[in-house]
Symmetry: D2
Subunit: 310 residues, 4 copies
C-alpha cells in the first residue's frame, strides 16, 4: 500500500488540482479530508505521510485555520509549497440559464473573488455557503441549489456544465498550498528558499514587533509574509506567522532565528522549503555582509581575536 | 423618524447586544442588515447614519470583511468601539436532549470558539454553517437542524431553550465592534483614545514594514493592533490595518501619521475614538519627550532658532 | 571704521589665507587673536562682528577647542564655512641647509601631517611646539629654532625661504574653517546647505545615541559629521557635535531638530549655512517622502483628517 | 633583567602615578618615553613588554594620538585600564609668590582643566606649552618659566613647591590610561569587562553609523565610548573608536563583533579587559535574551530545528 497524502477535500477542489502538480503525488494515495484540522491530524496521528492544505490566498490573505493549526499542537513542518491561479466557473445542471438561477453556492472563501461578478450578473440570487466549492457543486447536482462557483474541472465530476468560466474579481488571484509532514531534516537549500516561523511577542511590551523585525533586518533577511494571528488570550494579543527569504542552513537566517528564539517568549519553526515558481538563478544576491562566506570569514576573524592571533 | 443605525443582523446576535450597550442606540432606529458590506453601504448611500459591525475577535483575529470594506471604497470613519465578552449557549427546541442532537448550526466564526467543547460533548454531530448565529437558531426553530450555538439571549426570540450555557473554548473571548459613519471631525480626545489607519507598503521594498513601524516608534506611539491584509494584487502583497494608542489631535500621533503619509504609497485614516473599557485615569503617561507640551516647547524652540532669537 | 572679523592669528597662518577667500573679508578689518576662545569671546563681547576659526581637520578631526567653545557659553552661530587644502613648507633662514637643522617648530596640530616626512628627511631633529605655525616661523626668524613647518605664504612675511614645499603625509589634507557670529536669522537655503547642532544624551541610557541618530534617519536627514566631546562630567559622559545635510528651513531638518529637542536633555543649534565647495546642482534629491512638497502635502492631508474632510 | 613597561614620560607625570597603581608595575622596569607613539613603537619593536599611555580624559575627550596610533599600524591589544583623578598643583621655585608669576607652563592638555582658575587668579600671565607637565616643571626649575601646572607629586622631584593644590576647573576630572601589549589571548572575563574596537564605515553610505550601532543594540550590548576619528582621507571621513560593555567571550559581544566585521570595510579588535573601578557584583544583568545561557539555549534549539528533531 503506498504512503498517503491527506488533503483538504472533497475531490474536485482547487486543492486537489494543486496537489497533482507535485510529481510525488503520482506515487501516493491521495485521501480527501473534511477539513484542514482533519488533514493535519491525520499526519500527527501517523495515518498520513503528509497533508496538503491551502495556507495563503491573494484575495483573502492567510488561511487562518491552517496557520492556527500549525502554530499550536504537535509540531509539523512544511516541505513544499504550490501556487495555483484561481478562477471560477459558474456550474449549473445542463439546461439551466442565467436567468433561472435563484440560489448559488460555494465555499465562503470564494465569495470575495466573485462578489463583483455576482453584483453585475446575478444581483438578486441568494448566496448559500457550502463546506467546499466541490460540495457546492454536489448540492447543485442534487438539485438543492441552482448554481455553484467552482473550478471548471469540477463540472465533469458532478455532471454539471460551466455557464461561465474565468470568473475572478481580482487579476492574478492565486492560492498558496503547502505540503506538511512530521518534523524531519529540511530539504537541502536550492538557492531560492523560504523559511516559515510563528513568533509570539511579549504582551507587556508595545514596541516588541519592531524589535522582532529588527532581528531579521539586521541580518539582511527579507520578509515575504507577516500575518498577525490572535493568541486567543484576549483582544490585542497577537502572534505572527512570518515567511522569510532563505533557508535555515543559511547563516543569516540561522542567526536571525536564534535572535528571535532569545527574545520571543515562543518561536515555532515551520520549515525551510523551495519557493514555488522561482528559479534560483533569478534570486538577487544577499545584502552585502550577509552571505555565508562573509559569515564564515567573520567567524574566523572572531576566533583569531579570541585567541589573540592577528 | 429617528436616524437609523444599520447593524450586522439578524436580530438576536451578539452584534445587537453590543450595539444596545451604546447609550445613543436608545434614540436610533436599529436596522439589521444581511452582511457587513450591506451595513456599510447603507451608510455610504446615506440610508443610515451609522453602521455597527464586528471588527476584531480575540479568537479569530481581525474580521477581514470589515477591515477590507473599510480599507477601500468611499471613505468611512470609526466613532466608537464596544468590547463584548462572548460565550455561547447550545439552543435546542424544548425537550431535545444532548443525545438527540445529530446536526448543529452556527456562523462559521463561532466554530473555533466551540470546537473543543463539541469534541468533548458532541463528537459525532454534523456541523452546518449558518449565515449568522441567530439564523442558525431560526433554522433550529424551523426544525432543519437539531441545535444551534448562539447567545443565550437568542433563546426566547426563537422559542428555544438553552441546554448548556457559558460555552467558550478560550477564556476571555471577546469581540470588538465599531460604530462607523461618514467622515466628520473626530470626537475630542478623552485621554484614552485609539487611532485606526490602513497603510500600504511599497511592494518593491522588503524592509518597508520595519520603516513604517519606526514612524510610530520614533514618536513614542504604541501600537495596539497590526493586522495584515492582502491587497488583492498577488500573493505576498499586503497592507496593514493598525490601531495606535492616542488621538489624531495628539501631536505625537499627528506627526507619526504625516510621516506615514509621506513614505507610504497610500494611507487611509479610519478615525480617532475612545478606547472601550479604559479609564483615562489608568493610562500611563506618554514616553518622555512625546507629550503635547514637549512638542509645543520644541516647536517654539525651532521657531526661535529659525529666527535667530536665542 | 569698518566692522571687524576676529580670526585665529597670528597673521600668516592658514586661517588668514582661508579667511581671505571669503569675499566679505575684503570689506572688514581682519584682527588676529591669540586663541580660538579669544576670537569667539570678541564676538560675544560685541568687539567683533564675527570670528573665523578652524573647526575640523581631515587629519586631526574636530578642532576640539572650537567645538567646546561653541557648545557652551553665550550662544553663537555659524554663517559660513571654508575648506582649505593644507600643505606645508619647511621654512628656514636664507642659507640654511637640510643638514644644518637641529630643531624644528610648528603648532602641534601640524605634527601628524608632517610626521612621516620628518621620519624620512629629518630623523634626528628636535620638535618644539609653537603657539601657531606662524609663531614657529617668527621664532626661526629670531634664531631660536632652525626651521619651521608653515604655509609657504609665511616665508616672505618672516624673511625666510622655503627649503621644501608641498609637504603633507596624507593626500587631500584639508582644514574646515567657520565664520561665527551672534545669533541671527540664518541665511536663506541655497539647496546645498549644512546644519550644525550639539546634542547631549541622557547619561542614564545606554542606547541613547542610537535613538538620537534615528531622529535624523527617520526623516531622511543625512549626517556629515559626528564628533563626540566629553561633557566634563566624568569619563564616559559625551555630547555630540553633528553636521547634518540640509537647512533648518527644510521641513525634514526642522522636524528632526524638534525630535532631538524633545528627547535630548539639551540641544544647541549652531546654524544652517552653505556647504563649501558644493554646487547645489550636484546635490542628490532628498529621499522619497522627505521633500518639502511631500511634507506640505502630508500636513494638508492631516488637516483634512482632523477636520473629517476627505 | 626584568621585563619593561614603556610609559608616556617623563618621570613625575600623572601617567607614572597611574602606572604605579598596577600591582604588576612593581616587578617591571618602568621606562619613560618621549611620546605615545614612541611608547607604542617600543612594544611593536619588542623592546618593551607593554606600554602605558593615556587614552581618554573627562575634560578633553579621547586622547587622539593614542587612539590613532592603536587604530593603524602593527596590531596591539589593551590588557588593563586605570582611572586616575586629575587635580593640578601650581609649582614654583621656593620663595616665588603668586604676584611674581609672569609665565606659566604645562602640557596643552592641562589648559582646559585650569583655564577658569587662571582667569580668576593669574589673568595676565603668558601660557607656554610644554611637552609634558613634568617637563614644564623642569623648565621652572631651570628658571625658564615662573610656574608650572603639574601633579603635586612632581614638586619634590624638581625642587619646587606647590603654591596651590587641588586646581581643577571640572569636578571629577579623570584620565583613563591603558596598558597595551602585543596581541595575545585576552584575560578571562571578570563579569565587569569592556571590549574596545575601531570600526570604519563605508564612506558612500550616510546612514552607516546608525546601522553599525544597531549591530550592538540588537544584541543588547551597551556602548561606553564612541569617539569619532578622521580616517585621513578627507573632511567628513571618520572611523569610530568604540568601547562596549562585556567581553569578547560573551556571546552577545562576539555576535555583535562578527556583525560589524561583516558590514564594515574594516574592524580592528583592541582587546577585552576588566573595567577599572567597577565591581562585577555591581553590574546589572544583561538584557533579557542576551545572556550566554540564552544564546546557548537558542543555538541548541536551532540545531534541533536544522535536524528536524523537535
Amino acid at each position: 500500500m503506498p504512503a498517503s497524502y491527506a488533503y483538504l477535500g472533497p475531490e474536485g477542489t482547487f486543492t486537489e488540482v494543486a496537489l497533482r502538480t507535485l510529481p510525488e503525488s503520482a506515487t501516493r494515495q491521495l485521501v480527501p479530508m473534511v477539513s484542514v484540522p482533519a488533514a493535519l491530524d491525520a499526519v500527527r496521528a501517523g495515518e498520513a505521510e503528509a497533508a496538503f492544505v491551502p495556507i495563503e490566498n491573494s484575495v483573502e490573505g492567510g488561511i487562518t485555520t491552517t496557520i492556527d493549526q500549525l502554530a499550536v499542537g504537535e509540531p509539523l513542518m512544511i516541505y513544499r509549497e504550490v501556487l495555483l491561479s484561481i478562477t471560477f466557473a459558474l456550474l449549473v445542471r445542463p439546461g439551466t440559464k442565467l436567468s433561472d438561477i435563484k440560489t448559488v453556492s460555494a465555499h465562503p472563501a470564494a465569495q470575495p473573488q466573485v462578489r463583483n461578478w455576482m453584483r453585475d450578473h446575478l444581483p438578486d440570487v441568494v448566496w448559500e455557503s457550502a463546506a467546499s466549492n466541490a460540495d457546492g457543486a454536489r448540492l447543485v447536482q442534487e438539485g438543492r441549489y441552482d448554481a455553484a462557483f467552482a473550478g471548471e474541472f469540477a463540472a465533469a465530476r458532478y455532471g454539471l456544465e460551466a455557464l461561465e468560466t474565468e470568473i475572478h474579481d481580482a487579476e492574478n488571484a492565486q492560492t498558496r498550498f503547502v505540503l506538511v509532514g512530521r518534523p524531519a531534516r529540511p530539504a537541502a537549500p536550492t538557492g531560492a528558499d523560504k523559511t516559515s516561523v510563528v513568533i509570539w511577542q511579549r504582551d507587556d511590551h508595545p514596541g516588541a514587533l519592531l524589535e522582532l523585525l529588527q532581528e531579521f533586518a539586521v541580518r539582511g533577511v527579507n520578509l515575504m509574509l507577516l500575518q498577525s494571528r490572535p493568541t486567543g488570550e484576549g483582544i490585542g494579543n497577537y502572534c505572527f506567522a512570518i515567511d522569510a527569504e532563505g533557508h535555515i542552513s543559511d547563516r543569516r537566517v540561522a542567526e536571525a532565528l536564534t535572535g528571535l528564539k532569545r527574545v520571543c517568549p515562543q518561536v515555532r519553526f515551520l520549515g525551510s522549503y523551495p519557493q514555488a515558481d522561482v528559479d534560483p538563478k533569478d534570486m538577487r544576491a544577499p545584502r552585502a555582509g550577509t552571505s555565508d562566506d562573509e559569515f564564515a570569514a567573520a567567524s574566523d576573524w572572531l576566533a583569531r581575536c579570541q585567541d589573540g592571533r592577528f
